[in-house]
């Protein structure tokens, strides 16, 4: 009931329409750079940005004196808000699986991400198989239902995975305490490439069948349509450029391999994910037009992650790759701002370049940079107020808006804690005496 009440309040906020945030240090990540000024938000959009703005009558005015305003953080690689497992790892091509079907708007990680300034995230299938499930971009609209979480208009994607994870082939004998699992192809990196090529051979044939059917229909004939195959549909969309490929990878050789495969079949890799050796092949990535979404300084957790360097994001950026830093993790997701800051120390990026790694760059990688990623007129009002410099360890998120609706407010959160504690205690107390009494006589 309380939650509904809160939702009601949010709805009211949306109706109130006009919000002005004044006197903030605005790190716009747009043409205006960083400056002290104000913005006007109306109907979910940023309608004015400047040193001084006209305050429309009836507007809600927020004085952000001494505070920092940045575009909402975008996480290009996350697995939060997913019900029932992120890996359809039973098969090596699980493109029929779709994150869209299993969005879990109740996941508390959404709220925590929001409290860390994240307003949008690319929710991916896991990396258990060469071609994984379909991905999509969510906005962290905590309190909404599954449909309300979706970033409408964002191009859907598909997860690919290279390297060690997809070649874990199961162990028919079990061993070392692990239960036996059925063998799965592939068991080598060669096999991973083969699986992807075979899948696209199938997808091409499938596309040809449908194209032939469509041509017949166009001629006014009435043939029986071909069988719709949910595994091949998304791959057909990749071939048609309607779906982005986000490929999990580590090593330079496998990155080059996938670029070759993509070139052979005539599709594009939108982003290489993790891409710890991206610094070695940044030129090739840039030439292909692929982005790179990496970790700041996380490595050596497995053999293929040994050659990682904290300069990766900076090097890729300087070589012309659109680069971002992602979390891949619900906890790390709450502090991507400081992840970005590390790229100033390692690689000497400017403040703007560093913040771009978690704002405008992931927006570009997800094809939503016309909507979010910077504070500019016409963009979605996905904005965050920090009390201090967001590139500092000491900065705390104060308020977060998505589409002009406030979804997080630190003051309200803190002040609501005692009453929530009380509610919980009440329930716990109610249950206590009941427990022994309900036990059945044996």
């Amino acid at each position: 009931m309380k939650r509904l009440f809160l939702m009601g309040l949010m709805a009211l906020a949306a109706v109130a329409q006009v919000t002005v945030i004044e006197n903030a240090t605005i790190m716009s990540e747009g043409a205006k750079g960083t400056f002290k000024g104000s913005i006007v938000v109306k109907d979910g959009k940023i309608i004015e940005v400047g040193d001084k703005v006209m305050v429309p009558p009836g507007a809600t005015v927020i004085d952000a004196q001494g505070q920092f305003l940045i575009p909402g953080i975008i996480d290009c690689h996350s697995h939060i808000a997913v019900d029932g497992g992120v890996n359809e790892g039973s098969v090596s091509v699980s493109s029929m699986a779709n994150i869209r079907d299993v969005i879990n708007p109740e996941d508390i990680a959404i709220y925590r991400a929001l409290a860390g300034g994240v307003t949008a995230a690319n929710i991916l299938h896991g990396s258990a198989n060469a071609i994984g499930g379909q991905t999509l971009v969510l906005k962290m609209r905590w309190g909404q239902d599954a449909e309300g979480m979706i970033f409408q208009g964002a191009t859907p994607g598909i997860k690919f995975a290279l390297g060690e994870n997809p070649k874990r082939a199961g162990s028919p004998q079990g061993g070392r305490g692990a239960p036996a699992t059925n063998a799965r192809y592939p068991a080598t990196r060669m096999g991973v490439e083969d699986v992807i090529r075979e899948a696209f051979n199938e997808a091409k044939a499938y596309k040809a069948t449908w194209d032939a059917y469509d041509a017949q229909v166009a001629k006014g004939q009435h043939p029986i349509p071909p069988r719709k195959d949910l595994k091949l549909e998304p791959l057909k969309e990749v071939l048609e450029g309607k779906r982005f490929v986000h490929a999990h990878c580590y090593r330079a050789d496998e990155i080059l391999m996938l670029i070759r495969v993509a070139d052979d079949y005539g599709f594009k890799i939108k982003t290489f994910q993790h891409v710890l050796e991206g610094y070695k092949v940044a030129k090739e990535m840039a030439a292909h037009g692929a982005g790179g979404s990496t970790f700041s300084d996380w490595w050596a957790y497995k053999a293929e992650a040994f050659d990682a360097i904290p300069y990766n994001a900076a090097v890729m950026t300087k070589k012309g790759v659109v680069s971002s830093l992602n979390s891949d993790d619900a906890e790390l997701m709450r502090r991507l701002n400081t992840e970005a800051a590390k790229a100033m120390k390692y690689g000497g990026l400017t403040r703007e370049e560093a913040l771009a790694l978690v704002t405008i760059n992931p927006a570009k990688q997800l094809g939503v940079d016309n909507r979010v990623g910077s504070i500019e007129v016409g963009k979605d009002a996905d904005i965050v107020i920090y009390d201090k410099d967001p590139l500092s360890n000491y900065a705390k998120v104060q308020k977060v808006w998505i589409d002009g609706t406030k979804y997080f407010d630190r003051d309200s959160d803190v002040s609501a804690r005692p009453s929530k504690e009380l509610e919980k205690k009440k329930l716990a107390d109610q249950e206590k005496p009941a427990t022994p009494a309900t036990r059945r006589p044996q």
């Binding site: 359809e88 039973s90 199961g170 059925n182 799965r184 029986i224 919980k424 309900t438």
Partner: protein, 462 residues
């Protein structure tokens, strides 16, 4: 029904005529459910049907008369989603409680022969869409007697194992030699679950599908395939010459012959998800579970979709073996507190619902479960309706079942005291006009069976 009676005659050699002897219960309070309560009236039963009911009903000369003074007659209870009688589905005594999110209707531990892991939807994993509960049911199942002792006379019995588990059947709870006698409606629709049957985790090479998103995509693919299969079959039927014949696919046949689907939905997130899914599949759906039906947004989704639901009476409980010091999350405690209010909430919102046993099968557990819904705001009348006429309406058999009306099937419960009270004694039940008297002491939880013994003046030994 006449066949049934004849069969009974042949079997037991009792003294029935072509028109068998009637049973008349007189001077009893009659709760008809469909109409108003008759404070003192008579019900006459013959040939397994209600011949007459009312305040002033003449009792036929050949009738065996039961003096109903101090007794109440109710329509027999209907379990809207049951596994009673389905082989291998008897749950182990103690109900698991507390767990959140898991869709219940206990999956049996019974081992099925290990099939090779499925490599995709083409292998039709965990699919037995073609089986009908009516063909599988075992009339000797002890739970049938046990449920009858709790006043249940009818159950919608469903196969529950697998993504497409099979087709449910509406059966009367007789314990006879021939399961066929029990069947009212052979196919009620298709039972869909989103849990892997018999455990066997997914993971690498563990067989498709392993994750929820895989399961959902599998079900979607099956409906696409079924649509395509139908197209090709129709084309072939029209003009087979020169056309390759479509391959027979029993999985798709089973799906195509199911007129509705049952979809699992406990959390509000799942209710929302499954409503969208049913709309996408263009299948008439009934949602089962509904643990979080009490949530405002669940109510909204269900109302907007004009949905029909089956509410599990296995109310979430704290796990029995839980560390008493361990504190559960707020949300989990809230759900335990609120779940039993779901029937009352949905009633108030005008959403069509029925209650179901969900693995409960002892009279004591069933009585307590219903009582809990009543204690949480559901009126006694509405509880009764949710276990009689509402399930009959949901399955489209309100013309023959669910209330005490002339011409309906003679499924009755006769009690001393108000039904669902813990002190109430069930005197006897009639199933298809056959009288069953509960054994004096209903077996306590854990031990099952031996709860009813056919007897009485007109007892039909079955």
């Amino acid at each position: 029904m006449r066949n049934l009676v004849t069969a009974l005659l042949i079997f037991c050699g009792c003294a029935f005529g072509a028109d068998s002897a009637a049973i008349a219960i007189r001077n009893a309070k009659i709760v008809t459910v469909s109409g108003s309560v008759i404070p003192k009236g008579t019900v006459v039963v013959r040939n397994g049907l209600i011949q007459d009911v009312g305040e002033n009903v003449s009792i036929p000369g050949d009738a065996v008369v039961v003096d109903g003074e101090g007794m109440t007659v109710y329509p027999g209870l209907v379990d809207a989603l049951s596994t009673w009688g389905m082989p291998g589905t008897a749950a182990s005594g103690a109900a698991r409680g507390g767990g959140r999110g898991a869709t219940t209707t206990a999956a049996p531990a019974a081992a099925t022969p290990a099939a090779p892991p499925a490599r995709g939807p083409e292998d039709r994993p965990s699919t037995t869409s073609w089986i009908k509960a009516a063909d599988e049911i075992q009339a000797t199942d002890k739970r049938i007697e046990s449920a009858r002792s709790a006043g249940f006379t009818t159950a919608a019995v469903w196969p529950t194992r697998g993504f497409f588990a099979g087709q449910g059947s509406l059966v009367d709870l007789l314990t006879g030699e021939k399961a066929g006698e029990m069947v009212l409606v052979p196919s009620l629709g298709q039972y869909i679950s989103l849990t892997r049957a018999g455990g066997g985790g997914g993971g690498m090479g563990g067989g498709f599908p392993s994750a929820l998103m895989g399961m959902i995509s599998y079900i979607r693919q099956i409906y696409l395939d079924a649509g395509h299969y139908q197209l090709v079959k129709d084309a072939y039927a029209k003009n087979p010459r020169g056309m390759q014949r479509p391959e027979y696919d029993r999985a798709l046949e089973g799906v195509l012959e199911s007129k509705r689907i049952l979809l699992p939905a406990n959390r509000w997130v799942e209710i929302d998800r499954m409503i969208h899914f049913a709309a996408e599949l263009k299948q008439p759906a009934i949602y089962y579970g509904i643990r979080e039906g009490f949530e405002d947004r669940s109510v909204k989704y269900l109302k907007d979709a004009n949905a029909t639901v089956l509410i599990s009476m296995k109310w979430p409980e704290k796990a029995r073996d839980q560390d008493p010091e361990a504190e559960d999350p707020y949300r989990q405690m809230l759900i335990r507190e609120k779940a039993p209010t779901t029937p009352a909430v949905l009633k108030k919102a005008g959403i069509k619902f029925a209650l179901y046993s969900d693995g409960l099968d002892t009279p004591r557990d069933l009585q307590r479960a219903v009582k809990k819904a009543i204690d949480n705001g559901l009126s006694r009348e509405d509880a009764l309706r949710a276990l009689t006429l509402s399930p009959a309406e949901i399955y489209g058999v309100q013309d023959r079942l669910g209330s005490i009306e002339k011409g309906k099937i003679a499924n009755l419960v006769v009690t001393k005291g108000e039904i669902f009270d813990d002190r109430t004694k069930i005197e006897f039940v009639l199933v298809d006009g056959n009288k069953f008297v509960p054994a004096p002491e209903a077996a306590p939880a854990g031990g099952r069976g031996g709860a009813t013994a056919p007897s009485g003046p007109n007892g039909v030994k079955k």
